[in-house]
Symmetry: C3
Subunit: 154 residues, 3 copies
């Protein structure tokens, strides 16, 4: 019997929440693209200010940091610091056989916390608001990792 | 029966493409090291301009951003935004039992798209060229994640 | 028979080392938070210099780069370049059935190398010291990925 099977409801919870978080992570890249095109600024590479279909009016200042675009990159970096760790910790967590209720609580809490974090970040809420949702998400990953470590050592 | 077995040809495709992408990701770090040593510039930390076996002629300007080195770091960041998501999405995709043909198409397309993206980035091709290959890779991950989500919810 | 089972001692080694590395990765985020609060500087977002419970005395220079805080962010970025790749490579490595001794050597070496890397980075040791531990960790991931690739292709 493997834990990684569609017959295991804990694994199904993981599949749902993990695929949502992967879509969030990929979507953040597209938010950066959208914002770059919208403000026609915040480009990253010297060659990006050559004229082309997506840059009709190239200017050197397009390479300067633009907060609207850079905010999306900072959100992306925060995602990279949290989502891959969730994807790994969640899979290991499934492997050690937690209760369905605990898995549901932890995994859906992570999804909700990261959604709120993204909204708080995009709408420039206070540092404290953002930090609260970051903390909740981070705590979920830490709890899952400690749970796995204890189960594997015992 | 587990999907994560060498007897499952879809899993073998995943093992091949995932290990190639892990090697690409690790190789990008070594490209940065190679470029730093080659131009003797683009260092990151204040302590890196102390004299030592790998820095015989330390100078403060070694800490300035050097496009040749920083380009490799930007490539690395782009990898980090895409490859871990592929590694996770691919594994979940295997778990929900897609056809071998679909898995082959998606996973080898991702590898090819990321290889082309790296070449386009390293050789300073136009933003549009780079964006095309980024889009193909990103689409593969999104398709796999949506496929998993639909399978898990149904 | 699945390789991803608590009955497989190689998988247990993976669970232990992977959960430790996930905790290291999450801990790095908290080191940044700790350092930001300690020096009351190194903030990242314009809205972070609004007065609030965690910022009683906001000043524009809090947004300047602070090496003490930024060092933790650079350590985090280095973790992101290595730990997710280890988590993925290690899982694939378990799947292809290596000997327990080889798995133990590689996985515990990675943990030790990353711990030494973190200490060397935090205490501003020479570039060569840091590079040595980075190289050991990177080599472990590369060896595991090549091992998986060869096993999957044969």
């Amino acid at each position: 019997m493997t834990a990684f099977s569609m017959n295991n409801p804990v694994f199904v919870t993981y599949l749902i929440t993990a695929s949502i978080m992967i879509l969030k992570l990929m979507g953040q890249g597209w938010m950066t693209v959208y914002r770059m095109l919208k403000v026609d600024a915040g480009l990253l590479n010297p060659e990006d200010i050559k004229a082309g279909p997506t840059n009709r009016n190239p200017r050197p200042e397009q390479l300067e940091i633009n907060d609207y675009v850079d905010r999306s990159r900072r959100m992306h970096r925060n995602d990279l610091e949290n989502i891959p760790a969730f994807l790994a910790a969640g899979l290991l967590f499934v492997a050690v056989g937690p209760s369905l209720m605990l898995a549901n609580i932890l995994m859906y809490t992570f999804v909700a916390a990261r959604a709120c974090h993204a909204i708080a970040y995009a709408t420039k809420r206070s540092h404290e608001t953002r930090a609260t949702f970051f903390t909740i998400g981070s705590a979920v990953v830490i709890v899952m990792a400690v749970y796995v470590l204890v189960a594997a050592l015992s």
